[in-house]
Amino acid sequence: MAYVAVRGGQEAIEASLALLAWERVRPGCSVEIKDIMAAFPDLIDQVMGESSLYAPELAALALKQAQGSCEEAVFLLRAFRSTLERPYVSCAVEPDAMRCSRRISAAFKDIPGGQILGATRDYSHRLIDFNLRKESTDTVRELRREMKRIWKEGWEADGLCEGDGFGGDDGAEAAQDLLPEASVRPPKKGAKDAASPPLGAFGRLPKVADYLRAQGLLAEYDADDATPADATMEPLVFPTPRSMRLQVLARGMTQGVVALGYAAIRGFGLGHPTVAELRYGEVEIAVEHPLGTPGASGDPLQAGRGDAYYLGAIPVTEVEGIFELEVENADGGKEFTFDLGYGMVMGRGETKAIAMSVLDFCLRSKDKRFPTQDEEFVLYHVDGIEATGFISHLKLPHYVTFQSKLSSVRKAKDLAKGSADKPADEPATGPADKSTDGGEGGNDDQAV
């Protein structure tokens, strides 16, 4: 087997690229990157999540270049990331360190910190808003002013306006003693002398699953600080470590992960989860001092990160799904218990994160009766670049391999007819393909 180089299509390819460029500019109008970021934050989140690269401005740029094609934008971002060095690994983001702006549980009505809907479409009517046709930047600004006015009235009532509350000069530092639990909610009216809570304390909420652990219904695990596997640096080798599975699922195609998670619930997997907790919010990213600082990890509100560098915060969606399962007890009998599946994705990606938690649970079973429990089936096929790359390559010339198939089918048909005659000579791949047959042309994809 060998591959042959391509010749003959260069001018057509250049013309095709020119046509592509023309189609982008043909409408005669453009959109600025900041407008894409403002109008399509969820799409940008999806591109970043599947690219496995948090870079909102670049994701918007990639979408612009890709003319809105999500898979092309992901390809562009993945290609871009390969051009950069990666000298740092962050301190571990701890699970309860998220500054939540949404947090719900389908398992319990009353949870510590409460059910917080945040900004969600869950309860919206799925009707097209035709008023948006007439929306302009001016009308958006006017609406924003009006909403800010209403918010401000609420803030004034709660004593949150400038120069009203939040202690003296020692503000944040003096408030380090405030418990995270106490700072879940904003300060109430009348708390004018209260110091501000430490930065990042707002929206911190206890984990719902901890309630089940406290009841002995969920196993507790000691912290495992083993260095994770890295899908960007090593190939998939089965069986995969848990860290590899989670990383591959987190960067998987949104619709791919969702489809397989759905299949698992419908009967091609282990069962139906209950969402113990779904939370969306920001987590802080920090790195240790490049020359090393012991203990610079963990919860940013604790003293451990004192010497680390804060880089910024990124939005993530996190899900813990509860599954009921039957296990063998100490007496050799069967009993029911609970276990969790875990999902986390960059940005807003609730269905993907839930589906990820389903697949995380399924893939731990190692029982390959169901495809969603076969890690090779799941992990190899959810990666966007792998999947779209392979499917796309089918568009490229396969002239010689197809000739081989054609020849085989003809021979088989001839044999079936009992004819010993060879098929008549005819153009191998049609009139336009003479230059690519017989090893002169074809695509570099083409085996001969």
Partner: protein, 144 residues
């Protein structure tokens, strides 16, 4: 003031604060730029809460810079492509570590803490918006 707290305020706060402090340092000290501000990546490591183990969520674009004040190295790092901020942070990091402008440190820390209060107010307002979406099940019970 510890580095984590300082850098968190400077990264999240008004960039003009870091710019102003860095300008004072530049005016007083000889600065050697070791690495110009440039883009690179940081891998985000997460502890998942089911098995309490670590995994890599993905990478984030960041900008970093290294400067020297005398013998002291200063590092500046921030998510995104904020080159000016990375440079300013590196200068401030070196100044705090070297004690080159020790007499100015209390004043800078005062400004940084004031900025912290401003950020805390902003976060409180965001938290207040979110808090309005908290479900009050007890109200539902009364209505039923």
């Amino acid at each position: 003031m510890q580095r984590y707290e300082r850098t968190r305020i400077l990264v999240e706060g008004d960039p003009s604060l870091a710019q102003g402090i860095a300008a004072e340092i530049e005016a007083e000290c000889a600065v050697e730029v070791v690495d110009e501000p440039h883009e690179e990546l940081v891998m985000v490591k997460v502890r998942e809460s089911v098995r309490n183990s670590l995994f890599y969520l993905g990478e984030a674009l960041m900008c970093s810079c290294r400067v020297k004040l005398g013998d002291t190295m200063g590092y500046g790092m921030a998510l995104g492509s904020r080159r000016n901020l990375a440079y300013n942070l590196a200068l401030i990091d070196a100044a705090f570590a070297s004690g080159a402008a020790q007499e100015k440190v209390p004043g800078w820390e005062h400004l940084i803490r004031k900025e912290a209060q401003r950020i805390a107010r902003r976060q409180a307002k965001e938290a207040a918006r979110v808090d309005k979406t908290r479900v009050d099940f007890s109200t539902m019970k009364v209505e039923a």
